[in-house]
Symmetry: C2
Subunit: 216 residues, 2 copies
DNA sequence: TAGATTGTTAATCGATTAACAATC
DNA sequence: TAGATTGTTAATCGATTAACAATC
């Protein structure tokens, strides 16, 4: 059977934040929490929390609230953190290496199985136990290994061709740090992280605030 | 005089993307573009483009469209990219160094003036001409230099205390890569980049797609 | 049982799209 | 002038908040 109702992007974007807060509560050994208490911590409305969670099922109990551990586990499942996701990184520059070294990913099921770069100087250098390979070896690698997620941390000119090659070889999701919008078929998931756009948003808010508060 | 109407967050988040596409058109020596043609390139509605831009003024001309260079420049101004933003990085790990090395920021007015870390091994090492200093030197540095933006690329336990210290010393904006929500006064701008949350969103979409298309 | 708090429906608010008169 | 395309108002759609009956 196929899940019918489409869940809005806005809701999904909020799930990881719920997951983070519940994880913290769990570490503090909090057993249960009401939508009201959680709403105060997270600075959202209790109504939104209940509404969001009920997209996926009734995780709470009237008069009690939500069991922290249970809810944490369930959201983890919804986010697909209970399964193993083999992942490769394309581009072993600072950003690629930063992501490779990020321990938490492994905990959440994101298993780094390869790192690739064009720079021959980097060949063979190990990052978290994974030796950097040449990008030219990637097509063969993809034929021999199951890779679910590819992380693109390379310059934008190379990103597009690499995306095409990845898709051709069955990669199903791309975490894209290059400053381009990739053109991909519907069955390939793309999640963009455009850092420069994030910084520009910050810059806008800064200029805006200044204009509103500092009379010239 | 103070700008009255509040512009929605959704619109602001789209501005950098317009800016990017206009920059590309500019490089291709395209002189003018209609909202309709741009909408096809960007895969948004023409209506949205016109609506968005008209929040800031009438940049187009009936029967002609928009002058690419003019619009590019104007959006740049709106985003505050025409002014210099002195910036420091806290945390000189891979991520901090990746951001420090990102050339484009400098082009857009984001001027790196300092890098700080706790690790004494890193002290004095230069990244893009800026020597890494110890975090303990930061309060004094802030008293002697004007810093507008601080980039937080350090572990979450340290992020919160550092944010407090930065704010106390007059820093007006924080680009936060730590996995915490900072508690800051209204006049301090915080832009969060929660990478793990982005990856979880990707993971959700992957699991979701699989459930919808692969019957068990 | 009484009190607390969810799940869910209804009301409100905001954002997107459509339509078209204004105008270059 | 005729054609193109904006700027802007109105209509629609979607997301958030409020309210409350259901129920633990």
């Amino acid at each position: 059977m196929v899940e019918a109702k489409e869940i809005s992007r806005a809701v999904i974007k909020r799930l990881p934040r719920y997951y983070r807060y519940l994880g913290e509560l769990l570490e503090e050994n909090v057993e249960r929490i009401s939508s009201n208490d959680l709403s105060k911590k997270m600075k959202v409305t209790a109504s939104q929390i209940r509404q969001d969670l009920n997209n996926f099922g009734g995780f709470g109990q009237q008069g009690y609230g939500y069991n922290v551990k249970y809810l944490y586990t369930e959201i983890g499942k919804i986010l697909g953190l209970d399964t193993r996701h083999p992942m490769i990184i394309l581009g072993a520059g600072n950003l690629g290496q930063a992501l490779a070294n990020y321990v938490d990913f492994e905990k959440r099921g994101f298993k780094l199985v390869g790192i690739f770069d064009v720079n021959p100087v980097l060949e063979g250098i190990a990052v978290r136990g994974i030796e950097i390979q040449m990008l030219s070896e990637l097509p063969l690698f993809l034929k021999e290994h199951l890779v679910e997620i590819a992380v693109l941390t390379l310059p934008k000119n190379r990103a597009r061709e690499m995306a095409d090659m990845l898709i051709e070889n069955g990669v199903k999701a791309i975490w894209n740090f290059a400053h381009v919008d990739l053109d991909t078929p519907d069955d390939v998931i793309v999640e963009n992280v455009h850092l420069s756009e994030s910084l520009m948003t910050l810059s806008y808010n800064l200029s805006q605030y200044r204009q509103e508060h500092v009379e010239k």
